[in-house]
């Protein structure tokens, strides 16, 4: 590497030696090689601040609060068009000649539609409900809903036929797909434990379910992705099956787990030989059309004797509404839509940052389209990518989703600081890493409690909001855009959302 290859570091790490107790915890904790313990001087020293990613691990673990991390204080000559972001990217591309990889969700400053929405509450003409004292229900069922029930009268007895399989969730909130491999064994186990405690589901991600996780099977959505890794007849009998067509962070893209990351653990889970590359193709090579998708859905229904709901996950793209309609007509029991801010363990930056559309607009458009076609009632609509708070959850449900799906938020609950280094496998917090030494940094008891707390906290928030809206079951919030108002700058956006402007009493009615 020549000197010219170098770019200015992004962050400057420094140690205040007046406060430092020279314990060396920071150097042990830094997996990126920023801090090392100097045995001669008997103190930690910054050896390469250019490697700092601001993961905060050293600073959090420093007992003396001696470490500070700041943006590197070197100015770029101001240029509104050629920002430091562009200069750094070009420098990196020129150095490597390759595709820039990144992790987590789209970090660009697009408008966030959620932040332009507010909701309604009861005053005078209807009473609000005290969620702490009166029942407010969040129980939700995932699966296909019949148009009406089939009931017959037989000799004075009323007989109701069974309906499609539906999975009970205690809250309209699930945890999205993160495979074992994309996150560590301990992180994975913690999430499984959290969802089973709370009574909801976790997506297995592409790559199967490890034999030691069988006890949590009924709290998992078994992903069937383009590589079919880990798919076995037994694996399909989770709570639900999800065919993964796309992911919000990388629509139109598949995934790779390089051979060096395919350890014994991954090999056992995915059912592939140790050390082989696990390449998930961009498309599913047996699905080149909607009729192909229908065939796979039918095959999975058959394989599980129609006892497990089969859904399809797609990234939110321009044409999402007719795509969703096709999926319903292909006999899916639920649809998961992942917005363009959804996260990833590894994706080309150019795709992560530019492909797809915001989940708010996608859900509004899909919900409206399916209603126009008279098929909305059949399907459970799950939406994620990205819900950052319980308020985003309330808003996405009011826009038309049945269930909100979160992943990044759960990782943050377990310590993630969004440093976006997931593809490096060096996660200092022991989350996005296959390195067992780093993975051990997640204490399963602690992390599962934190993740469960997050799910409970958002559900409690939802209770409170429903109560204030005078609604005592979340069913009555689904698609209830009447209770939302738009306060953003763009009336056209409000129209797509089907939400009236704040302050307006004008009824939108049907069209």
């Amino acid at each position: 590497m020549q000197a010219q290859d170098k770019t200015i570091p992004r962050f400057k790490t420094s140690i205040d030696y007046d406060k430092c107790i020279k314990c060396g915890r920071c150097s042990v904790n830094c997996p990126f090689g920023v801090i090392e313990f100097d045995r001669e001087q008997k103190k930690p020293v910054i050896v390469d601040t250019s490697k700092c990613v601001a993961c905060q691990r050293c600073a959090v673990y420093c007992p003396g609060e001696a470490i500070s991390i700041e943006e590197y204080p070197v100015a770029y000559a101001p240029h509104a068009n050629w920002t430091p972001w562009h200069i750094r990217a070009i420098s990196e591309q020129a150095r490597t000649g390759g595709v820039l990889a990144t992790g987590m969700g789209n970090d660009r400053s697009y408008p966030i539609v959620f932040d332009y929405l507010v909701w309604d509450a009861c005053q005078v003409t209807n009473p609000s409900i005290d969620a702490l004292r009166e029942p407010v229900e969040t129980r939700t069922f995932l699966g296909k809903k019949p148009k009406n029930l089939s009931i017959k009268e037989v000799n004075g007895k009323y007989v109701m036929d069974d309906i499609y399989p539906n999975v009970m969730l205690s809250t309209p909130l699930t945890v999205g797909h993160m495979s074992l491999g994309s996150i560590s064994y301990n992180a994975y186990t913690s999430i499984l434990r959290a969802v089973s405690e709370v009574g909801t589901l976790y997506g297995t991600g592409e790559g199967g379910l490890h034999p030691s996780h069988q006890a949590y099977k009924k709290n998992t959505i078994s992903e069937v992705a383009s590589g079919r890794f880990g798919v076995s007849p037994d694996y399909l009998y989770g709570a639900a099956i999800e065919i993964k067509i796309g992911q919000g962070a990388k629509p139109g893209h598949g995934g790779q787990l390089p051979g060096e990351k395919v350890t014994q653990l991954i090999s056992d889970t995915r059912g592939i030989p140790l050390g082989t590359d696990a390449l998930s193709p961009n498309p599913q090579h047996d699905i080149y059309s909607i009729e192909d998708l229908k065939t796979l859905i039918a095959a999975l229904h058959e394989a599980t004797e129609y006892s497990v709901p089969v859904g399809v996950k797609v990234a939110a793209v321009n044409n999402i509404a007719p795509i969703a309609s096709g999926i319903v007509r292909a006999d899916a029991d639920f649809i998961t839509i992942d917005g363009f801010r959804g996260s990833t363990g590894a994706a080309p930056r150019v795709i992560r940052d530019n492909a797809g559309i915001p989940i708010e607009l996608a859900v509004a458009s899909v919900d409206q389209h399916l209603r126009n076609e008279g098929i909305r009632h059949q399907i459970t609509l799950i939406a994620g990518g990205s819900l950052r708070s319980s308020s985003d959850l309330v808003k996405i449900i009011a826009l038309g989703a049945d269930v909100g799906m979160i992943s990044t938020a759960v990782l943050v609950a377990m310590g993630c600081k969004l440093c976006q280094q997931c593809p490096t496998g060096k996660c200092a917090w022991g989350i996005a890493t296959g390195n067992p030494m780093l993975g051990k940094r997640i204490d399963i008891d602690w992390a599962s409690k934190r993740a469960a707390n997050l799910l409970r906290s958002w559900t409690a928030d939802l209770d409170e909001v429903l109560g204030a809206m005078g609604i005592d079951a979340v069913d009555s919030l689904v698609g209830n855009r009447d209770r939302l108002r738009y306060i953003g700058p763009n009336p056209h956006e409000a129209k797509i959302l089907g939400v009236q402007h704040a302050g307006s009493r004008v009824e939108i009615g049907g069209e």
Partner: protein, 386 residues
């Protein structure tokens, strides 16, 4: 531009009704004809609950000689609108008879023409009920200056803008005889002056009177639209009438239990109670909630639904927390069934009734010839389920 009394959305802003109200029902279980005087008296007693901006009455058993024909009772702004309605009806139905509904002059300052048509739908491919539903919706949404007050058989709705006593006098309710009555007086918080916005709200032979505000309106409207119900009249009550019609009539449930299922969908048992039910009942309650989840009406309401389908039935229902009042009563001889917002309304007519408080979210159902479902047990009680 001349003010329209029939349409809210031609000139007034399109706002949804938010109202408090008084409601009452009177049902002679022997099908004996009763004058409208008692029900009018019941409403007069509850004057505190209204503010003079709308009231109405629904009456069943009015046209024994024409009972196989649908009676479309309309309010019409002018002759032009009447011609438009007639023209429209002629293209889809045979008009058997039409007449002006007599009203008393000098009671209300302004009022529209009230006219009724007895019709028989022509299209044989679609069920007559569905044709009539579409005809009512078309008139209400698309024909300027006309509004359908009701469209069932052997029944009609009499409503308008004014105090309950004024509306009773305007239509000479005491001279009308019916075996089943429901009534409503409004305390709207907006859109005064619109006759169509008064209750009872009727579709086919159903009439709904409603006290409350539906907080699930947006969800319900979306659900109903999937099944061909256009909610364009901007009243919560409209939503309730369509939910009832969809579940009790369109879903083809066994006649005897269809209205119970509709009521359960509207205000289902809590999950915590469902979890404690017997396995069969649990399956029924769970599946009803799953299949009709978006038919659930949230927010405070108490309602009286009267219908002639499949046979004369009066239902009283409230939200799951019973945030609006509803009291039921039976006369000493067990022949007259009453529902009202307040007990005094019933006592005005009969001091010796046996009265009771239906439980929150549990329907009271009086159906001609069947024992009364009292609303003190869950609505599936007494049925053999599998």
């Amino acid at each position: 531009m001349k003010k329209s009394l029939t349409k809210s959305f031609t000139e007034l802003p399109r706002e949804r009704e938010l109202s408090a109200c008084g409601i009452a029902g009177l049902f002679n279980l022997d099908k004996k004809m009763v004058s409208g005087e008692p029900i009018a008296k019941m409403m007069a007693t509850m004057e505190e609950r209204e503010n003079g901006l709308g009231a109405g009455y629904a009456a069943y058993g009015l046209f024994p000689k024409l009972k196989e024909y649908y009676c479309l009772q309309l309010i019409i702004d002018d002759e032009e609108a009447k011609r438009a309605v007639e023209e429209f009806l002629n293209s889809y139905t045979d008009i058997v008879k039409d007449e002006e509904v007599s009203v008393k002059k000098g009671v209300l300052k302004e009022y529209p023409i009230v006219w009724r048509f007895f019709v028989s739908p022509r299209d044989e491919k679609v069920s007559p009920d569905d044709t009539m539903k579409d005809i009512m919706m078309h008139i209400n949404c698309s024909i300027k200056g006309a509004f359908c007050l009701s469209g069932g058989k052997d029944m009609a709705v009499f409503k308008g803008n004014g105090w309950a006593t004024e509306i009773a006098e305007f239509y000479q309710i005491k001279d009308i005889k019916a075996f089943m009555w429901s009534a409503h007086s409004r305390f709207p918080t907006n859109t005064p002056g619109w006759w169509g916005g008064a209750h009872p709200f009727s579709l086919l032979g159903h009439a709904v009177v409603h006290n409350g505000e539906i907080t699930s309106y947006g969800t319900n409207v979306n659900y109903l639209k999937e099944f061909g119900y256009e909610c364009k009249l901007l009243t919560d009550t409209e939503v309730l009438a369509y939910i009832y019609d969809y579940i009790a009539r369109k879903c083809n449930y066994p006649e005897k239990i269809a209205s119970r299922i509709a009521m359960m969908a509207l205000a289902p048992p809590y999950w915590k109670d469902i979890d404690l039910m017997t396995p069969e009942k649990k399956k029924w309650a769970t599946n009803i909630r799953i299949a009709h989840r978006k038919a659930m009406a949230n927010g405070p309401f108490s309602i009286i639904i009267t219908t002639d389908m499949p046979k004369p039935t009066m239902i009283g229902h409230s939200d799951r927390k019973k945030l609006r009042p509803m009291i039921a009563a039976l006369s000493e001889d067990g022949k007259t069934f009453y529902l009202a917002s307040e007990l005094n309304a019933i006592h005005t007519i009969d001091r010796n009734v046996k009265y009771w408080q239906p439980d929150p979210g549990k329907p009271v159902i009086a159906s001609l010839g069947d024992p009364i479902i009292t609303g003190t047990k869950d609505p599936l009680e007494g049925l053999e389920l599998a």
